[in-house]
Symmetry: C2
């Protein structure tokens, strides 16, 4: 039972930043990854679409007998986590609360910036989560609609990337924030560029790292840590073209994925 896989779902390849942290921080765990590349990005979709697409991914995962589900997409987390936690009988972790908690631990001035997709920012999920825990935290939200398409197009460094990052984020340097949450799992891929363009003193929180750690806590708490000494297995699925997914993952992460399978999930709407 303990060697059942963790399920990781995302709108595309961004959630791989979470998957790699799971590999690193939980090296005994098996996982299955599903990226809904066909319908990516979720950040510009409406609430009903995000809800429907995410539920379809969850159904796919539940058939794989996962022991824990990680919603490795901030937008999907913002719109579905509460519903899923109420209706599905396995532990489920999103990426928003772990990032929020890390920011609460890190901030000294209680001034936190959040950058994310339009849909995540519109959901106000980070602000609500931060304020629910600490009402004295002041939150500055900033939507970055260009970042996911830019990253999915392979631009993670160089002058074009720097120009887009700078023009999107420069106004944040005038705020009093001492902590910045990367509220989209794609953003760790451009973390160096973001750090370069932001005030040096601002500490950057990557939800991915924090989510892997919180997954570890929840697995431990439920007595679900894998005890097998076999090498872990990782299976990757995409709703898009498997070669495209592999190549993009290789380009972005400089690490090759062993097996990527292209799948059709029920009711896929493009």
């Amino acid at each position: 039972m303990l060697n059942r896989p963790i399920g990781i779902i995302d709108s595309g390849v961004g959630g791989l930043t979470v998957a790699y942290e799971v590999m690193r921080q939980l090296p005994k765990e098996n996982f299955i990854y599903l990226g809904d590349t066909l319908r990516c990005p979720y950040g510009s979709k409406n609430k009903d679409e995000i809800f429907e697409y995410t539920l379809e991914m969850v159904e796919f995962m539940l058939k794989k007998d996962i022991k824990l589900l990680i919603i490795a997409c901030n937008t999907a987390t913002a719109y579905t986590l509460e519903y899923l936690q109420e209706n599905i009988n396995i532990p489920i972790i999103g990426v928003i609360k772990p990032g929020a908690r890390a920011a609460i631990k890190t901030t000294i001035k209680n001034n936190v910036g959040v950058i994310a997709t339009e849909a995540t920012i519109n959901s106000n999920a980070y602000k609500k989560t931060l304020e629910k825990i600490n009402p004295d935290i002041f939150v500055i939200n900033k939507a970055c609609p260009d970042f996911v398409p830019m990253i999915e197009a392979g631009f993670i460094k160089g002058s074009k990337t720097e120009r887009i990052v700078e023009s999107t984020l420069s106004s944040l340097n005038n705020e009093k924030i001492d902590t910045l949450i990367l509220g989209c799992t794609h953003y760790p891929l451009i973390k160096e560029v973001i750090q370069k363009k932001m005030n040096k003193k601002i500490k950057i929180i990557s939800s991915g790292e924090e989510t892997a750690r919180e997954a570890s806590a929840i697995l431990e708490y439920y007595g679900l840590i894998n005890q097998s000494t076999h090498n872990p297995t990782y299976n990757f699925y995409t709703t898009g073209n498997s070669m495209f997914f592999s190549n993009l993952a290789n380009n972005l992460f400089k690490q090759s994925l062993n097996s990527v399978e292209s799948i059709v999930i029920e009711n896929v709407k493009i």
Copy 2:
């Protein structure tokens, strides 16, 4: 129900490093703190004594209708956490796993040092916890029997403190560790001296900060975050002299405690 307090227990004043982090990271939560100052330090006691004393503290806490228990003492965590989690019907968090998880996230070379009391080191709890999650982590243990008596005697800086810290820890600088866990909740009080005496590149993990954060995760996960807008209340109890406890806390933390009550817990043995 949600405004029920968190219970925090420790062998003495060291657990206040956890309590202050709970105040900071969970500012809406009420808590009750109990320090078993009369029988401190636990680090030099045997297994049966540690077990018995901790259970007496837990019984006191359960009568206070707490919603979550934090064992803010590494030694007590090492010897009782598993038993308590199996036998008591509220969520219980120790300080070892949160510190271990933070170290796993932080270490790059998979080489981690642990400093703690003799009893904690002898339990091998950190090594077991780290290796359970990541078998490739190499752990160097170092018992520091002089630190708790030194801190409880009020020495947290100055030449005497520096001399003791240096002579205890200097051998660790020859190891390949890149991360050092403060495996005793007293040790954050001498964190600056420790950092000064250790190789600059070694990152220091304070279980207290990490435990408060993991408490936040568990409360959130169980839907137990306090929603009241009243100012939180903090009650402090000691098995020793309340004035002594207050003064020591004031000296160590430069923050005064509102109410400290001296109590007798059942079967107290000196």
